[in-house]
Structures are given as structure tokens and as C-alpha cells.
Symmetry: C2
Subunit: 258 residues, 2 copies
Amino acid sequence: MTYCVALKLNVGMVFASDSRTNAGVDQIACFKKMRHFVNPGDRTIVILSSGNLSVTQNAINRLEQHGRHPDRPNLWNAESMFDVAQLLGDCLRSVRERDGVHLAQNNVDASANFIVGGQIRGERMRLYLVYAEGNCIEAGDETPFFQIGETKYGKPILDRVITPDTPFNEAIKCVLVSFDSTMRSNLSVGLPIDLVCYGASSLALDFEQHITADDPYFSQISKRWSEGLRGVFASLPSPDWLIDAPAVTVDDQTGLTE
Amino acid sequence: MTYCVALKLNVGMVFASDSRTNAGVDQIACFKKMRHFVNPGDRTIVILSSGNLSVTQNAINRLEQHGRHPDRPNLWNAESMFDVAQLLGDCLRSVRERDGVHLAQNNVDASANFIVGGQIRGERMRLYLVYAEGNCIEAGDETPFFQIGETKYGKPILDRVITPDTPFNEAIKCVLVSFDSTMRSNLSVGLPIDLVCYGASSLALDFEQHITADDPYFSQISKRWSEGLRGVFASLPSPDWLIDAPAVTVDDQTGLTE
């Protein structure tokens, strides 16, 4: 499994991905699920990937390889992030076309999806989700973030906190809480976390952090969030309508204790 | 969608289910997903259901109808909760056998599953999860709860709080927080919530509550949990490694602002 999230805020963008891949519980490895393509002053493109690892890697390999041919449409000469999202969708489709049937023969799921975001000189920052079918959608102000992979456990805190006005510090804190919740509930999402920030209109890669198991900040966030949740839960009132609850006898596991 | 949860604690059992069913967003209705069968002093059986509504209803109709024939194995003469879980699995299989092909012709998902728990005189309390295929598993001390339907959003708080030693008040509070989280993140899970408690070895239905939108306790829990989470989040430290973060210029949505 995988967990990736990307935010599009007024101040810029935040991208984060975990690093665990698994093919069954006995085959776990660590692979980077984030790639960035930067031509300072011209464009910054970040791609996060989820799904079948060979499919996502090969799609990005194709995208990269097209980039070596200036005569072809590619990620270095694309005039918009929309074009980049479409190119990535096309690469995904070619890989699935080549490998899909063979994977299906062994009941291997060939699906994969991507988040791709960044900025190209001449247009605003943009954030896309590329579906397994190769089509894409763009994030707007109402939905300032996308997630892929194991998305549910980490979504509530993003829903509660993230708006386009959220500053970087708050956003990073929220992303890490979101990762913490996901990793607690799904063992197949794991450290290290790759995290990058892109400052609006900087057209560079502004900040990069590789968060490993001994990162003191992440450990602190994780511990204090857990303690805080327990504290809030403990402070909630008990139900007052349990007034006529049963006077119970403890079941001794051996049978009825009447 | 649906959300149901059942806990097996030392003091007894807690069962809860939402009431929203939907066939597309424009066809939403309210159906009870909890049934109980009680013969005081002899047995208390509670069933929670999730999945295709016609399949779950028809399976329980069959189970109930078998109960009118004392010559057949049925839920009133079953000697164990294990037998009840198997009878329910058989009923589910018969319904799917009758209707499955016809539903499949219209791409309608005929899957459904159940939680069934309670106690029969002569044995301990037991809690089962009946899968869509009709097979079942039993909860133990290591896994003192089962969920069906939209399970992910409400699982973290159960994981953090519920152990076999949890008292009723705490357990009910936790179940309601779990429902609150689920309903916030998935619109297809909704009030009212049906909640019952069974006191170990009481062989009766000890407490029943129907929680509607104007329930003051549930509203209070929901509000205070939300405020509490925001408070804990606000109290978490900001990342100290963002020291060399970009001095950002706000993107004006019209293009590059260099």
C-alpha cells in the first residue's frame, strides 16, 4: 500500500509520500514514490505515485525518456501543467497497454494513479490527480488537496484543517498527523516520508525533508497527538441516559452465572 | 453505505448501527439495520447487517421463518451462537443463490455481511462476523470488536480505547465518537443510530437507545470531540526544520508574479 498527499495552498504546495511497498506481507521493501523535475526559473513539477510499482515506475520512465527528445511533446517543453498531466496519463496508458494483459493472466492488479502538481512559467500553480484510466481532474479552492493510496485514515484531519489560506507550518503539521493516523491503522504504509514544499511562483524546489523513524519532530507530533486524543476522549461526558443500564454480572467464560 | 459496530467486553456487549441506505445519491432512505431476537432467560441474539438491502432483509426473513418450525434447526433451538452464525450464513447463501445471478445481470452487487452476537443459556457470550460468502469468524479478547460497512473512519478511536476491560459508559462514548467520525467523512452513513447493550449473562435485552439528530448527548459528544481535536492540533509544535523555508510570494492566479 501507499499513502501520498498533496496540498495546493495560497502560499504554495506541499507534497508528501511514504516509502513502503509490499507484495504480500513477506515481501516488503522501501521505494521512493516521489519524483521531481525542476528547471529553475522555468518549471517545477512533482509527481507522487500509488499502485503497481512496475506500472508507476515504467510510466515515469517513459515520461522521463520522452523528455530527452525536444522534438516531441514532453515535460520540459509542455506549456501547461494540464499538458503534463495528460502526458503522464498517456504514459500510464502505454504501460498498461503493454503489460496489462500479462499481469491480468496472473491476477495481478495493474492499476496505478498519480498526483502531479507544480508550476510552469506563464501560468499559476496547478494540481492534478491522474486516474488509473489515464484521465485526470484538477484541484480547486473547494478541494485544496488530493490523496492517493490508503486515503481514508488520514483524510479527517485534512478535512478539518486544510483550506487555501493554511500557512506552510500548519499544513506540514497537518500532513504529518495525517501520515501518523494512516501508519497506525495500516501497517503497509511506512516511514520514511518524503516531503517537499514549493513556494508559489518560486519556480524552484524550495524545501525538502526526508523523515525517518528517528526524526525527533515526527516522533513528538505522533506522541503528543496520541496523548491529546486520549485526553479529549477522557474529557467527554458519559451518557446520562445509561441510568437504567443493567447491573451486570461478569461472564466467567465457563458458562451462565445466574 | 452502512456503519455497524459490535463490542464484546467483560461487562457485556454493545451493538450499534446507522440507518441510512442509498441506491445512488438521489435514492436515500432510512432502514433499521439491527434486529434482536430475545427469549428472556434462554437467549438474546442481536444481528447487524450491511450490504445489499434486499439480500440482508431476505436472509433475516428466512432465518426468522425457519424459527417458526421447531422441527428444523433454527435460532430459537440452536444450542450455540456458533450454530446461529452458521444458520445465518446458510440463509445468506440461499438468498444469493436465488437472486445473485439476476442481480449480476444488472451489475448490482449482491454482497452482504452480518455481525451476530449474544448469548445462549449454557454458554458464554459470543460475537461473530458472517462474511458475504456465508463463512464466519469469532471475536476473541485480542479483537474485542467487529465492524461492517464503512469501517475505516471509525476504527482508529476503537483501536485506541476498546479493550475487554472497558466499562459500558466508556464503550458507548467510544462507539458514538466512532459513528461521529464516520458520518463526518461519509455522507452515506447517517442518523438515527440504534444502540443496544447486553449485560453479560443477563439473557435479556438490557438497554436500548434510538439516537436521532436532536439527541442532546450525541450532539454534545460530536461538538466537544471536534473542538477537542482542533485544540490538540493547535497545541502541537510547528516543525523546527522549516527554518530555511521559502520566502513566498502569493500567487495571484493570473500567472507568474516574479
